[in-house]
Assembly symmetry: C2
Homo-oligomer: 214 residues x 2
Amino acid sequence: MPSQTTSTNGAAANGSAKRGRPGYDQQSVLRIAVDVFNRHGYDATSMGILADNLGISKSAIYHHVPSKGDLLKLALDHALGGLESILEQPEAAAGAADARLEFVLRRTVAVLVERLPFVTLLLRLRGNTEIERNALERRRTFDHKVAALISAARDEGSLRQDIDPRTVTRLLFGMINSIVEWYKPGGSLSPGKLADDVITMAFDGLHGHTAPTA
Amino acid sequence: MPSQTTSTNGAAANGSAKRGRPGYDQQSVLRIAVDVFNRHGYDATSMGILADNLGISKSAIYHHVPSKGDLLKLALDHALGGLESILEQPEAAAGAADARLEFVLRRTVAVLVERLPFVTLLLRLRGNTEIERNALERRRTFDHKVAALISAARDEGSLRQDIDPRTVTRLLFGMINSIVEWYKPGGSLSPGKLADDVITMAFDGLHGHTAPTA
DNA sequence: CCGGGCCGACCGACCGTTCATGAGAAACTA
DNA sequence: TAGTTTCTCATGAACGGTCGGTCGGCCCGG
């Protein structure tokens, strides 16, 4: 029943020769763990279930990672790192606010897709442990910076002014973040077209009375 | 620490005189339980934690409800009942597709707000138990019916045609469903204005090149 | 023969649930 | 009015089971 990775215990296509008995390394354990976490929910995933899915014993997991919480922490760091790096890029800091906003939104969609399972895990946190609360804090910081960008674009006159910018931010993030709940990479919808669709819906809406593009 | 309801054990403002020892009834237990479930996540909420929040013992909970799963089932039925009743109303069945769509979306936002904690619980399910899978199935049925409405509006020419209707549906639901993650009733944003904002963002987008309203 | 990878047995804590019984207010009887 | 019954809500100890995590030792390829 466990969707175990066959034969070569999933030890990741590790090009470099390694000593010792072949098997998992931390990266491949993490990859599979995140998948299982997303399938059952983090809290509902016991180390026993995780071990079944890995095809190794429960105690073997502790050879690769010190605790269940560390597994979560590694995953969340990867997700948050991807998001935070967006705002460090030059295109996010220079130019007209609405152009910067579009850049950030496109990159956010891209990161969601590239690191799909990791970001999925992040977006489903409830903040039960200190690890989760730290991650939620970092995510909130990211959200606030984007919210500031939206306010700037609004003040520039690029965005409609009849909706509270905080409402706009939340609805926008709601739309974008929902991607992790349904997007399947490798399907007919490419990441590029997905980003286009998101931008189109966000800026021009369903009716599509598109303004003459400058 | 538990945010227990003081003095009158929270037995709901029940006007009619009741026999027996005063205390909780099923409804008030359910209300608080759903709140706690939403704060910690359903799986992460133990009956012990729940009992602490109720201010009664763990075993007392079983006087009101036969199991933790039944508590979840009651909550999900309430949420799903609200959503499903939308599509049974006449305004959802007659008239132009885009008018029907707007009606359904407005009512959906309203139900989300009216039954906020219950719908929140529903939207966070992972499908671990049979109860959860049944609920997810009912939710999927609702989504599909709205998706059909979107397709109809598109075929009518009311909606833009450069985005796959399934993508539209998902982004739209992503935006609307996100409400449960941030909306606080009683604040400065009224449910009516919220629905207006959602409709505006969905149909006309952030740029707001609104077409002359007929 | 070293060292990374793994195992089975085990731990204390906590899980959801059960049970026999107590507490307390309304309703009935005298 | 006083006493008794009836009804609902609540209790605390305990059950079998599962949780995250530990420990000591075996496996096996470079």
